[in-house]
């Protein structure tokens, strides 16, 4: 059987709440990182509180699958990726990713982690569809998701507001048969 945790640049892993709390507390202080990844107001949590969030999540939630992303060459923790099952009935999940370490932006690490997360959704969880949303200004993410095979399905007009500027959000999806067809051509 194939190693579904391992890509070409990164591997999916998990870390102790302490280690994750340290990393997230540092990444959260980077506003650009937050604005790429999230639409909630940027907030600064203590390591203690983040650790509690992580411990809570460890109490096996069958609807969410979260991984930390490690580089293969140096085994460095660079970000996180997660699947939040929107519905087992409809076999669909949301996908979210953030690369906290700026030095690893735009170099294919995120795209590699995305491929692993999508593969996990289809091959391990047996889902039919993966959905995601992004800010329209996040062009790097759009390109990455298109590379993985996501198709643009719509645009919510003026969904976000930051610094008094309204911006759109984009919504994408990939179906299992589309992904399988992509794998065959490789």
């Amino acid at each position: 059987m194939k190693d579904i945790y391992r890509g070409t640049l990164v591997r999916l892993s998990d870390d102790s709440p302490e280690l994750l709390a340290k990393a997230f507390a540092r990444w959260d202080r980077d506003t650009e990182q937050h604005r790429l990844a999230d639409s909630d107001p940027a907030q600064l949590w203590s390591e203690k509180k983040i650790k509690e969030f992580q411990e809570k999540r460890a109490e096996t939630n069958s609807k969410s699958f979260r991984f930390s992303i490690h580089t293969l060459d140096e085994d460095k923790l660079i970000g996180g990726v997660g699947l939040w099952i929107s519905s087992w009935t409809h076999a669909e999940t949301w996908l979210g990713i953030s690369i906290g370490e700026r030095d690893y932006w735009g170099r294919g690490y995120g795209t590699d982690a995305m491929r692993l997360a999508v593969q996990y959704a289809f091959l391990e969880l047996g889902l039919r569809r993966v959905s995601l949303g992004l800010h329209a200004y996040n062009e790097r993410a759009l390109k990455s998701y298109q590379k993985v095979g996501f198709k643009l399905e719509g645009r919510m007009r003026g969904e976000g507001l930051r610094d008094g500027v309204r911006y759109d959000s984009l919504w994408m999806g990939i179906l299992r048969e589309e992904w399988l067809a992509l794998m065959e051509t490789k």
Partner: protein, 192 residues
């Protein structure tokens, strides 16, 4: 000028009211035994609920309204006799960005296709845009819900997202359509 004598919760044939924890569980329990209604209104698996279960849901709704402040839930009543005929809600309100999701249904079969849903949606939009001051609202409708699609189109909602094959029902896959309406667009319509 601000009209303080206006009534947000009164329309021609229907009105909004609060939940009645004594009288309503029995009525809404009957609606949950109508599989078609459940599948039009909700993406979650349809399931019949006893009045006791509905009562629990009502308690959860009011708890969420009170504690999270991002849910606004109304019962739809027939004006003639104040009878419960449906529900209308604004949920998942995102205050930072000024968004909310609208959803409504007429549970009582006798009151469907008579324009009561339209009157309720008018009130709901006025509440979302005039009282909550939202920037935009979203309505999510399964592609098989033709009545729902027509209703939101009639109110000027724009189709923004089509999630391909996001729903699996009766062994078929259906698109899930997401409509959006901006406060500015709604104001233009109300003026006209």
């Amino acid at each position: 000028m601000l009209d303080i004598q206006t009534q947000l919760f009164e329309a021609q044939d229907v009105r909004f009211g609060p939940i009645d924890h004594e009288a309503h569980p029995e009525i809404e329990s009957k609606w949950t035994h109508d599989a078609e209604f459940m599948r039009l209104l909700d993406l979650k698996p349809a399931r019949p609920l006893s009045p006791a279960m509905v009562k629990k849901q009502y308690e959860a709704v009011e708890k969420e309204m009170d504690e999270d402040k991002n849910l606004f839930y109304f019962t739809i009543r027939a004006r003639a006799d104040d009878r419960l005929i449906g529900k209308a809600l604004i949920e998942w309100v995102d205050w930072t960005n000024g968004n909310g999701f609208v959803r409504l249904g007429i549970g009582d079969g006798e009151y469907r296709r008579k324009g009561y849903g339209s009157q309720a949606l008018s009130m709901l939009l006025r509440y979302a845009f005039g009282e909550l001051n939202l920037y935009r609202v979203t309505a999510v409708v399964p592609a098989y819900n033709e009545g729902g699609l027509r209703l939101f189109q009639k109110f000027g909602f724009v189709e923004e997202i089509r999630r391909r094959q996001a729903l699996n029902r009766d062994g078929q896959f259906w698109d899930l359509i997401s409509f959006g309406l901006l406060n500015t667009e709604w104001r233009e319509q109300v003026k006209a």
